[in-house]
């Protein structure tokens, strides 16, 4: 229980820390795109595990997802920065191509459907203490970098042209963000699954945006919302014995509705 909640909280904090920059760049669906590409990595990892005759055939699923997610993130970033395709088209190619390749490879490899489903929707009940510790370390690094380089990352994502005109390496910084997104998505695979990981990165940012007036306060509040809904979702998931990803994202969306209602009521009562 503790390992599961700690894992969920870690990715709940790290997801919005990266997600805020993705929303700022207006590519909030990048997380979903990378998540779908990572499915191909899960299938390739499973195939590699079988080919190597590993006792646990799924042992390479997470490393496979990590490698393919990183490659996918870098390729899409390069495609966008070279201006060869529009941002939404690049994401669509990633989205559909990654999901389709994952399904085909999984069928070809004769992989276990439980593994596939766990990758898609998360399986917090299976989290080990080792996984929880590694996830917490990875998430802490991502959060430290996202906040430590906040000003320069803000400049690069808010107005990339002005940033480049100031000598700020906007291209390298946005590539780093794509890489960080790939890391968070792989870390979050077990907590929320690859299909719903984008929700954990973006919905808390959307909630914070309802009542924050600056980028810094949006980031801070989004991380708190993300960590909170992930912890609550994880506890209820284990108590009720259901899939974790769906419940965590549903909790986030319900919270969005509640905060939107409160902020609109407050705004309506404010004197003009």
């Amino acid at each position: 229980m503790i390992a599961a909640v700690a894992t969920a909280m870690a990715v709940g904090l790290a997801g919005p820390a990266v997600g805020a920059y993705l929303v700022q760049r207006r590519i909030s669906l990048l997380g979903d795109g990378i998540g779908h590409v990572a499915l191909t990595g899960v299938a390739l990892g499973t195939m590699a595990g079988a080919a190597l005759g590993l006792a646990n055939q799924d042992a390479l699923a997470v490393p496979g997802a990590m490698v393919v997610a990183l490659l996918g993130a870098i390729i899409v970033d390069r495609m966008q920065s070279k201006g060869r395709v529009a941002a939404d088209v690049a994401l669509a190619l990633m989205f559909y191509g990654g999901a389709a390749a994952g399904v085909v490879l999984f069928d070809v490899s004769g992989g276990d459907h439980e593994t596939f489903e766990a990758a898609l929707f998360g399986s917090l009940g299976d989290v080990s203490t080792t996984t929880a510790v590694l996830t917490a370390i990875g998430a802490a690094i991502v959060v430290a970098l996202a906040f430590g380089f906040r000003r320069v990352l803000f400049a690069a994502t808010h107005d990339p042209e002005f940033a480049r005109a100031s000598g700020i390496p906007a291209g390298a910084l946005t590539t780093s963000l794509s890489v960080a997104a790939a890391v968070v998505i792989t870390l979050a695979m077990q907590a929320v699954g690859l299909v719903l990981v984008g929700g954990l990165m973006i919905v808390p940012v959307a909630i914070a945006q309802l009542h924050a007036g600056s980028f810094a306060s949006t980031m801070r509040r989004a991380c708190l919302y993300g960590g909170g809904v992930a912890a609550v979702g994880a506890i209820l998931t284990i108590r009720w014995g259901i899939e974790s990803g769906g419940l965590i994202v549903v909790a986030a969306v319900l919270l969005y509705g509640a905060v939107a209602l409160v902020t609109s009521r407050v705004a309506a009562r404010r004197p003009a």
Partner: protein
């Protein structure tokens, strides 16, 4: 003659089959206020973006304070740039202060320098927005957002101020504030390059005009004379005209 701060030598910029800037050579000197004029699509914005290394050159070279642009050591932190924008809002809420403070960052300065917030407030004060520091930038009008972007360029006290359509969306009163900014930059010895559609209150401050037509320089010298209502007797200028004592031959050679 003052020193050259910005130099373009035979530059050509193209996008696919289209040539946006064709074989342009320009030197801009310290304390010079230059307007780049021309119709839509004449290559004005592309030219100033080339000055900053934002678009690749097909031919020619750009140098800034004697250093080639783009390059790792180009002193871009000495340039204040106001890009052509309709909004200062990104995908997420940002405060006016955060946007202006981004103007204090550079390749070598990735965090706010000492007194960064005070400098940002001072730049906003110059643009008449001192009380908007904590406001979400998206809550401001289009003209106010344009002034925020000008404050972001001013906050670093640039030696070269490049503004692309700085009067776009700015009301008449605040166009005079923009003119004050240009005059103040000139008085402290900065070079100012302005991409303009209409000079408005900036007209009296211009010492030189470069006119582009389909990417080529068709005029480089004295600003075109005022016509219509602006040329009527009794037309008042808020700012004194630029020094008219310069030799016409100098203006023609563009060596102010």
């Amino acid at each position: 003659m003052t020193s050259t701060v910005l130099s373009a030598a035979g530059i050509t910029v193209g996008f696919g089959e289209t040539i946006a800037v064709r074989d342009v050579s320009i030197d801009v000197h310290a304390d010079q206020t230059v307007a780049i004029l021309g119709s839509n699509g004449s290559g004005k914005s592309t030219l100033v973006r080339a000055f900053l290394g934002l678009v690749p050159l097909r031919t020619g070279t750009i140098s800034l304070f004697g250093t080639v642009v783009p390059s790792r050591h180009a002193p871009l932190e000495r340039v204040g740039y106001v890009p052509q924008r309709t909004t200062a809002q990104g995908g997420l809420a940002a405060s006016v202060g955060e946007v202006v403070e981004a103007g204090l960052l550079s390749r070598t300065s990735r965090n706010l320098p000492a007194h960064g917030k005070e400098r940002a407030r001072a730049a906003l004060d110059t643009m008449g927005l001192a009380d908007r520091y904590s406001f979400p930038v998206g809550a401001l009008s289009g003209g106010q957002q344009q002034r925020v972007l000008i404050a972001r360029a001013l906050v670093r006290n640039p030696d070269v101020l490049i503004m692309d359509e700085p009067l776009a969306g700015v009301d008449a009163d605040h166009q005079i504030v923009v003119a004050d900014v240009v005059q103040a930059a000139h008085e402290r010895g900065a070079a100012v390059v302005l991409v303009l559609h209409e000079a408005g209150p900036l007209a009296p401050l211009l010492q030189r005009a470069i006119v582009l037509d389909r990417g080529c320089v068709t005029h480089d010298g004295a600003p075109p004379a005022a016509v219509g209502a602006h040329a009527m007797p009794g037309h008042d200028h808020v700012h004194p005209h630029a020094d008219q004592t310069t030799e016409p031959s100098d203006l023609q050679r563009g060596v102010l």
